[in-house]
């Protein structure tokens, strides 16, 4: 018996890192989980297996969620396996998201906005449509970022997309009123998101990267782990957080609260 028994959750970009941490955490609490990623390899399959190992259904759905057609195909594939959707976690992002201002060309901008704003929007729209048709309500969570709050050198395009998500979930909250769907963002701070090097990658937390990098600047005195983000997602998708709607929760160990990051 867990906090999400019987729920059906789709998580985009969940092959590794934070997305995998979310997948395993939701599975630990009894949810069946569909893992999406654009990369389909043994790591992707392993992520789905790690879900199944927890006694729930784990499936993998390869696909590009930066286009409407691509996202719809992923949701179709998820529905074919799971029958319905209760939880959508928009988490997908490509590597190397930072780019100096004058190196930010139209190609980079479009790629950023297509994946992390347009994709998140149309994926949420489709999931909400399914949830309404099911009549069961549900939860939508988008991964935003501390970059949605503050300017940090070379992160303007990424931050702009993430700030858009904060506004987007308010709109979803309002436009979905009465359908028992809550839509929120989690805004991670500095989170270790590498897969552990060890053969046994059945852990949620990933490998701490450069642990000295942030600790002196953070009230929490440590960098974040995928489990910290996953636990906040668990809160919002479980009964504990069902009255939270249109909100963004920062999970950053106090980084933004104290503005010590660039000291």
């Amino acid at each position: 018996m867990g906090l999400l028994d019987g729920k059906k959750a789709l998580i985009t970009g969940a092959r590794k890192g934070i997305g995998r941490g979310i997948a395993l955490t939701l599975a630990n609490e009894g949810a069946d989980v569909g893992i999406n990623d654009i990369v389909d390899d043994e790591v992707s399959q392993r992520a789905a297996e790690l879900v199944s190992k927890r006694g729930v259904k784990g499936t993998f759905h390869a696909g590009d969620v930066s286009t409407v057609a691509g996202f719809n195909a992923v949701i179709d594939s998820f529905l074919a396996e799971h029958g319905r959707i209760d939880i959508l976690i928009n988490n997908a992002i490509f590597p190397d998201q930072s780019r100096p201002l004058f190196d930010t060309d139209e190609v980079f901008w479009d790629r950023m906005m297509d994946l992390s704003l347009k994709g998140y929007f149309f994926g949420s729209q489709r999931a909400a449509k399914e949830m309404i048709a099911q009549g069961t309500g549900g939860s939508i969570v988008c991964l935003a970022s501390v970059h949605a709050y503050v300017g940090i050198e070379n992160w303007t395009a990424y931050g702009t997309a993430k700030a858009g998500l904060r506004r987007m979930v308010k709109g979803f909250a309002i436009d979905l009123k009465g359908h028992n769907i809550n839509a929120n963002c989690i805004a991670p701070g500095a989170i270790s998101n590498r897969l552990p090097d060890a053969d046994d990658d059945d852990v949620i937390d990933g490998a701490p990267h450069d642990p000295s990098r942030f600790t002196s600047h953070l009230p929490a005195a440590k960098g974040g782990l995928p489990s910290d983000i996953a636990n906040a997602v668990l809160y919002l998708t479980s009964e504990l957080g069902q009255y939270v709607n249109g909100e963004t929760i920062l999970v950053d160990g106090g980084m933004i609260a104290t503005k010590k990051m660039q000291d």
Binding site: N180, L240, A257
Partner: protein
């Protein structure tokens, strides 16, 4: 309930005789915490809250104290630690207030409200933080703020200032308590139906009648329940929220997400969740 998130934790909740505070006490107990119940008077409501905690197999201690009074605060914390051995969680929830039109606000009113709900919260948090540092286990301090910290309703000037002050207070607590393992956060409730209701009317809690014209402005289409605020407190006080620090989480069913100024409806006098 099999996933217990606060097993063995010791939590003091101020103003927990009834309403939101009692809801927090109950959910904390369901998640395995022992709790201290505080209020200025002990009555049937207080007894019911204590009995509810005990019926869940958890320990409930009673602490009669006025959080606006320094001696009371210090005695309450001493009593609590004597009873439970340590303190892991403080929820600052007690509030004594009423509306007052801006042009009529008196110094006495200001001192009373600020003394309880801002000064009282700060010094309660300070002494608890010092105790947590002594114990060396870290901990979680939660202030109950309000949607009034973000927007104005008629005659809520002092209340709104106090609540906005709490949101700001936790930023500095996050900073100054860095490295202690203590997190400090606020929960900002919207319309929460915390009325005292006869048992046979419990199912009507948060219903349309309670919300009246406000219903249309709440995307979740129901009034909030004490357990909704309690859920946010469980999140923040448990391992789930250990990396959340200096934050204010709004728990309002999407009320503040909406935009047009005319959407802001006054809370009716006596309506719980905002001003009591």
């Amino acid at each position: 309930m099999t996933t217990k998130l606060l097993e063995g934790k010791k939590a003091l909740i101020t103003g927990s005789r009834r309403g939101i505070g009692a809801g927090i006490a109950q959910l904390f107990a369901e998640h395995g915490a022992d709790v201290g119940i505080n209020d200025v008077v002990r009555d049937d409501e207080a007894d019911k809250t204590i009995a509810a905690v005990e019926s869940l197999g958890r320990k409930a201690s009673w602490h009669q104290a006025d959080v606006g009074n320094a001696d009371d605060r210090s005695r309450m914390l001493d009593e609590f630690v004597a009873e439970h051995g340590r303190i892991d969680i403080l929820v600052n929830n007690a509030v004594a207030s009423r509306d007052m039109r801006f042009t009529e606000i008196t110094e006495e009113f200001w001192d009373h409200l600020v003394g309880h709900a801002l000064k009282g919260y700060l010094f309660m948090a300070q002494s608890v933080a010092n105790r947590m540092i002594e114990h060396g286990h870290g901990g979680s301090i939660i202030n109950i703020s309000s949607v009034h910290s973000y927007r104005a309703w008629p005659h809520d000037t002092v209340y709104g200032i106090v609540k906005a002050g709490l949101n700001r207070m936790v930023l500095s607590m996050a900073h100054d308590l860095a490295g202690t393992g203590i997190t400090a956060n606020c929960v900002a409730p919207g319309y929460i139906d915390s009325r005292v209701l006869p048992e046979d009317q419990e199912s009507g809690r948060g219903n349309d009648e309670y919300l009246g014209s406000a219903l249309g402005f709440i995307p979740s289409r129901r009034g909030g329940l004490p357990k909704d605020i309690a859920g946010a407190c469980v999140f923040l006080a448990s391992d789930l929220g250990e990396y959340v620090n200096g934050q204010t989480i709004t728990v309002d069913g999407g009320f503040l997400a909406g935009g047009y100024p005319q959407d802001s409806q006054p809370l009716e006098p006596g309506m719980p969740g905002a001003v009591e």
